[in-house]
């Protein structure tokens, strides 16, 4: 204590303290002073998602899974290009106005994102956060924008059912049965454009006001077909950290969205939050549960980077813009598995990042 006091008197520490006051970080949460505006969003999905209950909220529904390309991988890349262009256009900006692009997907070496970045003359940061990528890119980009290092940024994340199946599971035409706790990878890419804000009240757009970066949670789940159970502890952990750091309760938010826990994962997450004295009620939904209708029979629901990305850039942003939601939490949930790791007997660690958006 004594030593700490002394050190605080030195000029360098005072400036450090001042810096901390502008954007204070409480434990895992970064709270923004001005907030970062989300001025544009675009979502592109496949036929199956386009036939689901959220169909009217998507910007574009592809006619087929190849999207005019020869391979599914090339289709995924084109979807990224399409979504990023669409988001920049919807923000009313030119391509040259955006400084930096943050993007990630599920493929090896995140090729869909980095290949798509070839078409844009922007600084590129590729991020792998498994299915939590949308929240992670949004969180990191918001920090850089709020800090004033960049003015405009585009963030995106996406997945394609066919490419994900090939990488993580079995060939598409193989006649095997999916176990009942499995999920269906969403074909879709979502992109949003962020810009700095001069003051909290100046913005007419939804704003990112705080970000909670998660810690990796591994509760020993080995079943790769039950990713909801593997990710639910991390989602609950990050949410609890956010409530604790910002001194809020679940009731303070109009809605809380998790990325792709599915029905089972959502129920587990509810129980874990209730055990920690942060009970959530009707104001909590999982995007994986939202995206497919009952008749589509997709087991526990949607999964993949695209799931939370298209829900955020469609349904959620629409409601924020209309003012139906005042303050929401968006939690990206990722299962950090690889086929090699799981064949070698490893468990499936989960990671979740939480972004608070206000309108």
């Amino acid at each position: 204590m004594e030593r700490g006091k002394k050190e605080c008197k030195r000029p360098i520490d005072i400036s450090h303290k001042k810096q901390a006051q502008t954007n204070p970080r409480h434990n895992q949460t970064v709270v923004f002073k001005n907030g970062v505006q989300i001025i544009g969003g675009y979502s592109i999905v496949g036929q199956k998602e386009g036939g689901g209950p959220l169909k009217s909220t998507f910007s574009k529904i592809m006619e087929d899974e190849y999207f005019g390309e020869k391979t599914h991988e090339a289709a995924e890349q084109k979807m990224f290009e399409y979504a990023i262009r669409g988001a920049i256009k919807s923000a009313g900006l030119e391509r040259g106005d955006v400084d930096m692009m943050f993007s990630g997907d599920l493929l090896n070496q995140i090729t869909s994102s980095s290949f798509a970045a070839r078409s844009f003359d922007m600084m590129f940061i590729g991020i792998y956060g498994a299915c939590s990528t949308m929240a992670l890119t949004l969180g990191i980009a918001s920090c850089l924008v709020e800090a004033g290092f960049i003015k405009n940024a585009v963030v995106s994340a996406g997945s394609h059912f066919a490419t994900a199946e090939r990488q993580y599971r079995t060939p598409l035409e193989l006649g095997n049965q999916k176990p009942p706790n499995a999920q269906w990878t969403v074909t879709g890419v979502g992109a949003s454009v962020l810009t700095s804000s001069t003051s909290p009240s100046a913005s007419i757009h939804p704003r990112v006001t705080s970000v909670t970066f998660g810690k990796v949670c591994d509760w020993g789940v080995k079943d790769v077909n039950n990713m909801g159970a593997a990710m639910a502890p991390s989602a609950a952990h990050t949410l609890i950290a956010h409530f604790r750091d910002t001194n809020t309760k679940p009731e303070d938010y109009c809605h809380i969205f998790t990325g792709d826990l599915g029905k089972l994962g959502e129920n587990i997450c509810r129980d874990l939050l209730a055990n920690a004295n942060y009970p959530v009620d009707a104001n909590y939904t999982d995007c994986g549960r939202l995206i497919y209708g009952k008749s589509q029979n997709q087991y526990q629901g949607g999964s993949g980077c695209g799931c939370s990305a298209v829900c955020l850039n469609g349904f959620i942003l629409n409601k924020l813009r209309k003012g139906e939601y005042k303050k929401i939490l968006f939690v990206g949930t990722g299962a950090l598995l690889s086929p090699v790791a799981s064949f070698q007997g490893n468990t499936v660690p989960g990671i979740s990042h939480c972004v608070c958006i206000e309108s």
Binding site: P171, E173, L174, G175, Q177, P180, G220, V221, A229, I268
Partner: protein, 154 residues
């Protein structure tokens, strides 16, 4: 791993087991029986057909039936029908020789985009490979046992 983490993980595993949906064994079994039975009826019909129209030996006809079923399954895989059958019939369409055909052709189609040699040829037996390996290993084992029994004048 510490004791606490281990107990927590065990408790969590039990809890997840309670929450998770169990596999629906009964309908799966019925479908597997029906579709599997249908495939064998189809095989037997071809056998009878070949028996009447050709004068080949029973072994040759058996081989011909297998080839026919393999061809049909590969065709159904190529037009995207076999995986839909497999989604509800499970073991019923995996266990017969048609399942083997599906495993090989599905992998071959999937990796065609990476070229003939490094795509199709390399990955063709990705799923079905273990079946061949286990088949060869077991036949060796059975042959060996047969040989030992033969030595003692069985």
């Amino acid at each position: 791993m510490s004791q606490d983490v281990e107990t927590r993980n065990e408790q969590y595993a039990d809890y997840v087991k309670k929450m998770a949906l169990p596999s629906k064994y009964f309908p799966s079994l019925i479908w597997a029986f029906l579709i599997g039975g249908l495939i064998t009826i189809l095989g037997q019909s071809f056998y009878l057909l070949y028996e009447t129209v050709t004068d080949l030996s029973p072994e040759m006809i058996g081989a011909l039936v297998a080839v026919t079923l393999i061809g049909i399954a590969a065709f159904l895989t190529a037009i995207g029908v076999y995986d839909r059958i497999g989604a509800f019939s499970g073991g019923g369409s995996i266990v017969p020789i048609t399942g083997f055909s599906n495993a090989v052709s599905a992998s071959a189609i999937e990796h065609r985009k990476e070229g003939i040699i490094f795509g199709t040829c390399t990955n063709m037996f990705k799923i079905a490979g273990p079946v061949i390996v286990v088949g060869v290993a077991l036949s060796w084992l059975v042959g060996f046992i047969y040989f030992i029994i033969g030595l003692f004048g069985g």
